[in-house]
């Protein structure tokens, strides 16, 4: 491929991955590349990033696509001479042993270069999927990770880090992060090799994950969840800033004639500046009722985190969790509490609750209405969180209807795509007739919704 073809393919792949690269920006990238020297790949990356990536959360996606179109090496590279698996990817016991030994050392030392080389080797040796002809062979990160299983090195790595003076929790965290990083290196290298074999356009579309704020809660993996959790606080901060600003703008009330006239005397009776009466802000009580069963636990947790981070925007927040019984968790939301602690305690309660069986919405709604008759009143906004999958039990539609009728507003946030509503045991369509059902599959939608209701 010529350089220009690569460029065009690259920009198209970025668009396909959700970055809105305009024509002008594509041209900017070319002018930028004309101004730099090409021998350093990181320079090329930075020039592209400066001209094409205008939202930081998209950076991960950008890097993944860049690595496919501008690979760091071809084949197994110089360091990997003689790495190709002889006679197929059959288990070669001693090789695997030696490899894992090297990996353990590199992980303990945090040696980035060595880890990168080992990732290449892991894919070359343990991830090859020979095909029946040219262009049919492939590379699997999954297979190589299964065989190398870096997760089993966890304990050993933690022990090593403890010896370096970290305490237990820090060592756990650091070890988890290093192993996660190595996993990503292997995945990246498998993508690179598949792209080499089948062409980059083949890979970019399938294997590159959407940006974290557009990733479905229900599709998130462990490492994604960690990344999402880190996004919540900045998201809350952005929302809070936006809210204060909008409240200020709205606060400009009707014209204060007397003050305006008085001020105009300084300018010969010409009213150059107007004065306004302050407007009374009104605030809502928020009541959150949330399904925390296994299928939606992550979604519930993120929503609660966001609500908690924004609690000052409401005059009161009460939160209840349920699987089939209802538990009030408002206490965790006490003012001045530390967000991390609250979330840890909530997560604890949630994981406990989630152990018991499956959601029974009808029962939970009925119990809620019975046990907390005062919770929902004319000043409250009711927010139900859940997928509405009720395991075919009674739905208690009239109870929900009554609750919704008493509240000023009522919404139901559903982490599933609308095309699944009402399929299988989902009662989302039926509940949707009683309260308005809102699709909320990712952080971006969650942020939009929360902003709308405050």
């Amino acid at each position: 491929m010529s350089l220009l073809d690569t460029h065009i393919g690259f920009v198209e792949a970025l668009r396909a991955a959700g970055l809105s690269v305009s024509l002008a920006e594509g041209l900017d990238a070319i002018s930028a590349l004309e101004k730099v020297r090409w021998h350093d790949r990181e320079t090329v990356r930075a020039a592209y990033a400066a001209t094409l990536v205008k939202r930081h959360p998209q950076r991960t996606t950008f890097d993944a696509v860049f690595d496919i179109y501008y690979p760091r090496l071809i084949g197994s590279g110089v360091a990997g001479d003689g790495l190709e698996p002889a006679g197929g990817p059959q288990d070669t016991g001693p090789d695997l042993e030696r490899f894992r030994e090297a990996l353990a050392e590199a992980l303990a030392a945090g040696d980035q270069q060595a880890l990168q080389d080992l990732a290449v080797e892991a894919v070359a040796r343990f991830g090859a999927m020979p095909g029946r002809g040219p262009g049919l062979s492939s590379w699997s990160a999954y297979t190589s990770l299964q065989r190398v299983s870096p997760g089993e090195l966890m304990d050993r790595l933690v022990q090593g880090l403890l010896g370096q003076g970290l305490d237990d929790e820090q060592a756990q965290r650091a070890a988890g992060r290093r192993i996660g990083d190595f996993t990503r290196l292997v995945e990246g290298d498998a993508r690179r090799r598949i792209a080499e074999e089948k062409g980059p356009e083949h890979v970019a579309g399938v294997t590159v994950r959407p940006t974290i704020d557009r990733l479905d809660f229900t599709a998130a993996r462990r490492s994604d969840l960690e990344e999402m959790r880190r996004e919540i606080y900045p998201l809350a901060r952005r929302l809070a800033a936006r809210l204060t600003k909008e409240q200020h703008a709205r606060r400009r009330g009707p014209l204060d004639v007397r003050r305006t006239v008085r001020a105009s005397i300084a300018t010969g009776g010409v009213p150059l500046t107007t004065h306004h009466r302050p407007k009374r802000p009104h605030r809502t009580d928020l009541v959150v009722l949330c399904d925390v069963s296994g299928s939606v636990a992550n979604f519930a947790q993120f929503t609660l985190m966001l609500v908690f981070a924004l609690r000052e925007a409401f005059s009161g927040v009460r939160a209840f969790t349920f699987v089939d019984d209802v538990v009030e968790v408002s206490d965790s939301f006490r003012p001045g509490a530390d967000v991390v602690e609250v979330m840890e305690s909530l997560a604890g309660q949630i994981s406990q609750a989630a152990l018991w069986g499956r959601t029974n919405y009808g029962r939970a709604l009925t119990r809620f209405a019975e046990e907390h008759p005062d919770a929902v009143g004319p000043r409250s906004s009711l927010l139900v969180l859940g997928d509405g999958r009720s395991n075919y039990s009674d739905l208690a539609l009239p109870v929900l209807g009554d609750l919704a009728g008493r509240a000023r507003h009522a919404w139901w946030l559903n982490p599933e795509h609308p095309r699944h509503w009402g399929t299988g045991d989902s009662a989302a369509d039926r509940y949707g007739e009683v309260v308005s059902m809102v699709e909320c599959r990712n952080l971006a939608q969650l942020g939009e919704f929360v902003h709308r209701i405050v």
Partner: protein
Amino acid sequence: MTTWFESPEAAAARLRETGYLTDDATALTAYLAGALEKPLLVEGPAGVGKTELAKAVARATGAELVRLQCYEGLDEARALYEWNYKKQLLRIQAAGGDQSWSETHDDIFTEEFLLTRPLLGAIRRDEPTVLLVDEVDKTDIEVEGLLLEVLSDFQVTIPELGTVTATRRPFVVLTSNASRELSEAVKRRCLFLHLDYPDAERERAIVTSQVPRLDDKVVAQLVDVVVRLRDLELKKAPSIAESVDWARTLVALQVGDLDEATVARTLGVVLKHSSDQQRAARELKLATR
């Protein structure tokens, strides 16, 4: 046309000479902003050197810094230009009935009554200029429209006076804490740089260059603690500015070893919220006072 920096390497070197230590991506992007004459939008958390970058570019290139500090409610009259109404009124009143309106009009819409604000000021200057539009995310969306107009053609039309076109394009830096998304249109116009906390090595270099009297060993200990603090999801994570403040404090206290007791005693310099301090003390397992 001004040559701001000859190459990315030159940008890094000259910024370093003025005390600003960049990583490769920052040096490259600063170079590109000059070479392509495109505004540079720098985004990132507070205290990572966004504002300082603009100042450093000015110092490194001998340009003058013109700064537009954004705030909620900033408007065209404060950002671009404004007629001096009070003075105009006085002139009209002084003229009494002796002048026709058109004469008066020609009189009062002249340079003498024009109050130049930073955006217009930067465009009119003949000398090399760095225009810093600081904390754009604090303004209202209308100001972005204004910026877009000015940054597209580097010209401003004043109906009563005509069009002012930049004879020499300023080097424009916009900064944002990302408290809200800026409009797509503004972003398209700009090169984008996300500044984050530096890696430990660069942070040590920054601290050492700003507080040369602090012992290397203590600098390393300090940066170690700061890096760990940033991992804690605090309300306000310590930035470079706090590292530097802390280093100054330690010099003043003549600390030769940053042990746990000293960390506990001086944590207030680094963390401003008391809940953050408590959390940090707990996580770092410090004996609290």
